[in-house]
Subunit: 279 residues, 2 copies
């Protein structure tokens, strides 16, 4: 693991301060549950799996009743937080349990990566959103973990900056650079443009939660990417060559009002964008 959001030292938890990335690379040392809770609340550590691991180590540092309450309140929307605290409560050896939660998250992420990588075509240009990498987990990452596992296929990443907190610009782009994965940073509003030009083969995003019926919750902006990825390619040959059309314009910021060519998109576990095969 090159990028480590958390480092367990037995009597202390070191958290990479993600608020300072990419300018500074600083670990914050926590020796109490309250310090871990403050780090979660202040977004020193973020990403639901990483928050779950951090909370587990918070209990391991200070296995008191009050620790559960203060940690549970630190980020109520992170589903892994409540889950990890419940598991820690049932465990007898708190340190061993926290280490097990951490190790299992890493193993789960590597398994997600191995499974997901099978869906990635050779040389795919993959658009991703927010940060779902090693920084958001015990290591390797979920959606970005799939990309990491597929790096031998010569993939490249298009990272959306993810306003307003810029997890894509500050974290995903930085993480790709650490790993040597080619990465292009774009503003969120450029995603549709690149998809319409057929320059995105695949979109992979994380999920805060997924319900049994497939309903998904994630960072605001994910819905827009899903709508765009499902839209058939907008590139087409004009059937009205006699009329002036945007083809003559030198600007790259253009789109077609003509009815789009309908291409059939393959369904994958992720949102299927334009594939090379259909270009």
């Amino acid at each position: 693991v090159t990028v480590e959001a958390l480092r367990w030292k037995g009597d202390a938890l070191e958290l990479l301060d993600q608020r300072l990335l990419p300018d500074q690379f600083v670990y914050v040392t926590c020796r109490s549950a309250a310090q871990v809770a403050a780090a979660i609340r202040d977004m020193v550590v973020r990403g639901a799996p990483a928050i779950g691991c951090a909370a587990a180590f918070g209990i391991a540092l200070e296995p008191k009743e009050a620790s559960y309450a203060i940690l549970a309140k630190s980020r109520p929307t992170a589903i892994n937080l409540a889950w990890a605290l419940e598991r820690m409560r049932r465990a007898e050896d708190k340190k061993a349990e926290a280490e097990a939660i951490y190790a299992e998250d890493l193993a789960v992420n590597r398994a997600i990566g191995a499974q997901g990588a099978k869906l990635i075509p050779e040389g795919a240009r993959i658009l991703t959103y927010c940060n779902t990498g090693a920084l958001a987990t015990a290591g390797h990452g979920t959606a970005l973990g799939v990309i990491r596992s597929a790096r031998d296929k010569g993939v490249s990443v298009i990272a959306c900056e993810t306003r307003p907190y810029l997890q894509g610009a500050r974290l995903t782009a930085w993480e790709c650079m650490q790993e040597g994965i080619p990465c292009t940073l774009i503003t969120d509003n450029m995603a549709g443009h690149f998809m319409s030009r057929g320059e995105v083969d695949l979109v992979i995003v994380g999920a805060d939660r997924i319900a049994a019926n497939g309903d998904t919750a994630n960072k605001i902006g994910t819905y827009t990417l899903a709508v765009l990825a499902h839209r058939p390619s907008c590139r087409s040959t004009s059937r009205h060559r006699s009329r002036p059309s945007m083809r003559r314009w030198p600007t790259a910021r253009r789109f077609r009002s003509k009815r789009d060519r309908r291409t059939k998109l393959p369904a994958t576990a992720a949102y299927a964008g334009r594939r090379r095969a259909s270009r």
Copy 2:
């Protein structure tokens, strides 16, 4: 006209420095074509119609052959620039012609506003992008001019911040505040979320250029808004009440994977978003 991007003083052109908005309200005085060209290049003044007017006044200030060349190079993508310079070249009384171009742009914008306002429903919540208001023109505005003309209908504006240059955040939101038009500023990636919740009745954007066949070129991100606005409403009643679904989740950042209810959207001159009637 409350907001004036340009003020012609007979022997000088005053340009509102839009780079400093909304923090500072400062006019830059230009007394030569080179100064006007620099102001266009540095984005003191922006918006194709305003650039066209500024260039015309630049020729009026200094009607030399060299003035045409330096102004033409200041922003080649603004179609109004080449158009205004060509018109100035043919005119005998340069000052009168520049004033006519300015007056005609103002009249055109008011006519666009009057025509467009007829399409705006009472109380419409209108999403807009970039800045297409008085700041981008001789006055009143194009797309934002339609909103301005419809203000008596109790409309409200949702302004996208428009990364990376933030024309929506810095200019459109400020301009709405000057006019007392209710305005909510959102990041660009939030537009789909508000549309999916039926909180946008209409999307109105400007256009850098429109070809005879309807092809349109505009600021990057416009295509995404068009795709989103054409998507049928994503709100629906789950047909799988027995299964856990996102309805139970307290987060606002959620969307449905179930097949959407297909609502028929009315077509307007602008991109028709969700109308109140269809909610």
